[in-house]
């Protein structure tokens, strides 16, 4: 059972992959900073968060080796992100809809 994992555990990420990820992260930082100066109305935050999520995904997959990790680790990472999404969306549904029916406190 454990032997099926041995290949994944000993995987060593080649240096060019790290350099590629690094360049992508730098480009992402430049893009976010420049786009912020352009008035896109409500889409400024959408672009900013989209770029940030892409950058975070690159770091998680390559720098943190999740792409090369066993399925159990991947499951744990996905579960964590899923729980964070629960925290954010359920709070947002309250914040965004509370004034629809005139509940006190908003």
């Amino acid at each position: 059972m454990a032997s099926s994992h041995s290949e994944a555990t000993h995987h060593i990420v080649p240096v060019p992959v790290y350099l590629g990820v690094f360049l992508a992260l730098i480009v992402g930082t430049i893009v976010t900073t420049l786009v912020a100066y352009v008035d896109l109305g409500p889409f400024n935050i959408v672009v900013a968060l989209f770029v940030a999520i892409c950058k975070a995904t690159l770091v998680i997959l390559f720098f943190m080796h999740v792409k090369y990790s066993p399925k159990l680790t991947k499951l744990v990472v996905i579960a964590g992100i899923f729980w964070l999404i629960i925290l954010l969306t359920i709070t947002e549904t309250d914040l965004l809809t509370r004034h629809w029916i005139g509940v006190p406190g908003r």
Binding site: A2, L25, T29, A48
Partner: protein
């Protein structure tokens, strides 16, 4: 020292793969608690930013975007050197491991130094929430009390992040000392890899903090 592989395997694990997987799984579970910890603060920030968009944009305009962007680049560089440190440890290059870990530590201190300059600016310009809070050139039509809420969240989030960096610097110092004594081999370098995971996580937190705190409508003040 001679039979590394045999001696470093704890008896409750079947083999080294399993031992290594257990370590990284445990580290990830810890990082999940960190995700929820920072997640709660991010949610508080997002909620108040939605409720007081104008005050938050005006307050965010007081931050120094070039310094924030520079710090983002510094942290990304430190993540690269950390990844290279883990890579060097995994391939048994002891000298390179030490060099990359030292570079990571130095970049961590550069980040904290720049953060210190920013905090000092906030202090000098009365932008720290408290009795002396009165930002200069504040737009007349915007409520200042909500700006103090923004700066409270700013100091809370960046302060929590900076304290993680300080803990990370301590961990790196420990790794540098151990690595220079040759404690890590391609068979066992788990501490280097685990601190790497922690360091990258702290980098990810900043990847979200920078656009959310610094880049709310910078065209606002134009």
């Amino acid at each position: 020292m001679a039979s590394h592989g045999a001696t470093l395997l704890r008896h409750h694990f079947e083999n080294e793969e399993q031992q290594k997987e257990a370590s990284s799984l445990g580290m990830w579970v810890f990082l999940l608690t960190e995700i929820m910890f920072f997640g709660g603060m991010f949610m508080a920030y997002l909620a108040y930013r939605q409720i007081y968009p104008d005050s938050f944009a005006a307050a965010s305009f007081k931050l120094n975007i070039p310094l924030g962007a520079a710090n983002t680049v510094v942290l990304i560089c430190s993540s690269l050197t950390m990844a290279m440190g883990v890579h060097s440890a995994a391939t048994g290059k002891q000298k390179l491991t030490v060099i990359f870990l030292i570079l990571t530590l130095v970049l961590g201190f550069v980040f904290l130094g720049i953060k210190g300059i920013e905090y000092h600016d906030k202090w000098v310009h009365h932008e720290v929430p408290g009795p002396n809070f009165h930002p200069e050139d504040w737009p007349k039509n915007i409520d200042m009390s909500h700006a103090s809420l923004y700066f409270g969240l700013y100091f809370g989030l960046t302060g929590l992040h900076a304290s993680h960096m300080i803990i990370g610097a301590g961990l790196l110092l420990y790794l540098i000392i151990k690595a220079s004594k040759g404690a890590y081999t391609p068979e066992w370098y788990t501490p280097v890899e685990m601190v790497g995971l922690y360091w990258h996580f702290v980098d990810i937190v900043w990847i979200f903090l920078f656009p959310l705190l610094y880049l709310i409508d910078p065209h606002f003040g134009k």
